[in-house]
């Protein structure tokens, strides 16, 4: 499903050069639930962003569905993100100007689809995360756990094969975090979605199929 080949990422700032990732080789199977662990600053988010085509590696190749993405232009990359990938961020990243249902519809407006169908699918996604009663609210009117559930609905509304979640429970207490995890687990079972999740929490990581650990940009096992 996703294959990383010799990935290296260097952040170049005015004064210093940070080697955020070094020689990462990784393959994630279809339907696999993978956890990425490691101390803060070890390169977990960088790895996830590169997998999701939000960022480009300095060296190495990312394959999605067996296809190398090196030559992909902006439009093609946008299309892959739109069709195949759903993101869930630690700080939700909802658009505050849009209502809950409009936020969830977001990935669908970059496809050709009637607005009635878009609305229907957004409402279905919201039902899956248990937020049918809050569709007309704005993000600022919701609790952290509810916001993250909106973000999950947005990530799954387009039926992506891959979910990339960067510390989805990081800003939540353990009860809410547990709920979020239950939802994700259910999704993998129902639709055979591939999930790569960054987490600090051992108990959460242990619910996944496989754990990889990073330390200072390198994979340790």
């Amino acid at each position: 499903m996703i294959k990383l080949n010799g990935i290296e990422k260097v952040y170049q700032t005015e004064k210093i050069e940070t080697l955020a990732l070094y020689d990462i080789n990784l393959e994630v199977e279809r339907g696999e639930f993978l956890s990425v662990m490691g101390p803060s600053g070890c390169g977990k988010s960088t790895l996830l962003n590169i997998m999701g085509l939000l960022d480009e590696p300095t060296k190495g190749k990312v394959f999605i569905d067996g296809e190398s993405t090196v030559s992909f232009k902006d439009r093609k990359r946008a299309n892959v993100r739109n069709r195949k990938i759903g993101f869930i961020f630690q700080s939700y990243h909802l658009i505050n100007d849009l209502s809950v249902v409009d936020n969830v519809e977001l990935p669908l407006i970059y496809r050709t689809m009637s607005s009635a169908k878009r609305r229907k699918r957004a409402l279905e996604a919201l039902e899956k995360v248990g937020l049918s009663a809050r569709t007309k609210h704005f993000p600022s009117q919701l609790s952290g756990g509810q916001r993250q559930r909106v973000a999950i609905a947005r990530a799954i509304v387009g039926g992506p094969e891959i979910l990339l979640a960067d510390e989805p429970t990081g800003n939540l207490d353990s009860v809410m975090g547990g709920e979020i995890l239950d939802i994700l687990n259910k999704l993998v079972k129902e639709s055979n979605t591939t999930i790569v999740m960054v987490t600090h929490d051992d108990s959460i990581a242990h619910q996944s199929d496989r754990i990889i650990r990073l330390f200072d940009g390198s994979q340790v096992n």
């Binding site: 962003n49 999701g52 939000l54 960022d55 902006d74 439009r75 946008a78 299309n79 993100r81 739109n82 069709r83 993101f87 961020f89 990243h93 909802l94 658009i95 100007d97 849009l98 409009d102 977001l106 990935p107 407006i109 970059y110 496809r111 050709t112 947005r154 387009g158």
Partner: protein, 415 residues
């Protein structure tokens, strides 16, 4: 897709009410002033009643006279003799008219005092200009030669002097003479200096000596209007007149050279604005364009600035949109749509305000008989300006934004 852009744009503008208000205010205010200026320009230069044949009309008005000792006189200072001898004698034109600029006069009726503008004109005056007659007619060349005591008055003059009653055939006193009213015309704006007056009478009634051999006349001066048979005759007439000028005699002895020309309307205005000599090829238009450009530049830069800061503020939204499938092109179009919509709304508001402002200016009486209108030309120009505005202020920020890497955008726009 366009429908989506449109919907999103409306939602975004609605949610960012403060920004929308500031932008709308800036756009409508700038456009409002532009439209009002354009309307003034149009009203002053455009072919409006009674000067409908402006495109084939020339005038001889301003001149610069120089004396041997280096002295100089400039302004509308020709004598009727000069104009008759050197302009009336032109062969190419269809018609040449000789008339005075308007004289301020005071007249009394039933112990009431009236201030009017009085103009001495010939028969050709009524043929070259297309006055809108409410009643009656203008006077003929014969009326002028026979010194028939006839007058044409404006609607306002009738309303004041005859208190709104029909004036045709009645007598009006002007400059110590009684005239019989034979025509009533619609009011003319002071900005149209050639036709403007309240009362028009035959030029044979002037107290100036029409036949006195001299170059320089008295206040308020005389001018000639030249009507060509066809637009293409204009340069021929100008050449013919320049030839006449080379043969000018200077009976006063004081003057040794004269600088003038048969000018189109824009050229004539330029001459009077800049007291320019010689070639008068439309620097006025260039001047107006430069002025307008500078005037547009400021609010455009300002709007670009507002847009850029708004984009940075919305960079996390851009990051989110990119993460979920928006390409750079999509986002550029999204932004341009937002800008075009907001400028069009601003344009609509400014048009509405412009109509109000023009009404207020017209009614204020600052300029007698001013009747500014918002015609289709002004409207089209404004619309084009609107769109340029929207594109100018939208394209650069949109481009800048599209360069943003999604991760950087999510992080808040710092690269």
């Amino acid at each position: 897709m366009l429908k989506n852009y449109f919907k999103t744009a409306i939602k975004v503008l609605w949610r960012h009410k403060l920004f929308t208000f500031i932008s709308l205010f800036g756009i409508s205010f700038t456009l409002l002033i532009l439209i009002v200026i354009a309307s003034f320009v149009d009203h002053t230069f455009g072919p409006v009643t009674p000067e409908k044949k402006l495109d084939r009309t020339l005038s001889v008005t301003m001149s610069i006279l120089r004396s041997k000792s280096g002295g100089m006189a400039a302004g509308p200072l020709f004598s009727p003799y000069f104009l008759k001898r050197y302009v009336k004698s032109l062969k190419t034109p269809e018609l040449v008219s000789l008339s005075s600029f308007h004289n301020p006069i005071i007249t009394y009726k039933n112990n009431r005092k009236f201030n009017f503008a009085l103009k001495f004109v010939d028969g050709e005056f009524w043929q070259i200009l297309d006055f809108e007659f409410i009643e009656g007619r203008g006077f003929s060349t014969e009326d002028v030669e026979m010194r028939n005591p006839v007058a044409v008055i404006s609607r306002e003059t009738r309303d004041k002097y005859f208190e709104g009653e029909s004036a045709l055939g009645k007598t009006i006193e002007a400059d110590g003479q009684n005239f019989r009213v034979i025509g009533i015309v619609e009011n003319v704006s002071l900005l149209r200096i050639m036709p403007y007056s309240d009362i028009w009478v035959p030029l044979t009634y002037t107290k100036d000596d029409l036949n006195k051999i001299c170059i320089m006349g008295g206040f308020p001066g005389w001018y000639a209007m030249i009507l060509a048979r066809d637009k293409s005759d204009l340069p021929i007439i100008q050449r013919e007149f320049n030839k006449h000028l080379q043969e000018v005699e200077f009976p006063e002895g004081r003057w040794v050279s004269v600088n003038t020309g048969a000018n189109t309307y824009a050229e004539a205005i330029t001459r009077s604005l800049f007291r320019q000599e010689g070639d008068t090829k439309s620097p006025l238009l260039i001047f107006i364009f430069v002025l307008m450009f500078l005037f547009m530049l400021l609010p455009t830069v300002n709007l670009v600035n507002i847009n850029i800061s708004r984009i940075l503020e919305r960079s996390s939204e851009i990051g989110v949109r990119k993460a979920f499938g928006a390409s750079s092109m999509t986002l550029i179009w999204q932004f341009i749509t937002e800008n075009v919509i907001i400028t069009l709304i601003g344009g609509a508001i400014s048009l509405f305000l412009a109509i109000l402002v023009l009404m207020v200016i017209n009614d204020s009486g600052m300029i007698p008989h001013l009747h500014l209108t918002l015609n289709y030309r002004v409207f089209m120009v404004s619309l084009v300006i609107c769109l340029c505005f929207g594109l100018l202020s939208g394209v650069y920020p949109a481009y800048k934004m599209s360069r943003l890497n999604p991760v950087d955008a999510l992080r808040g726009g710092q690269q």
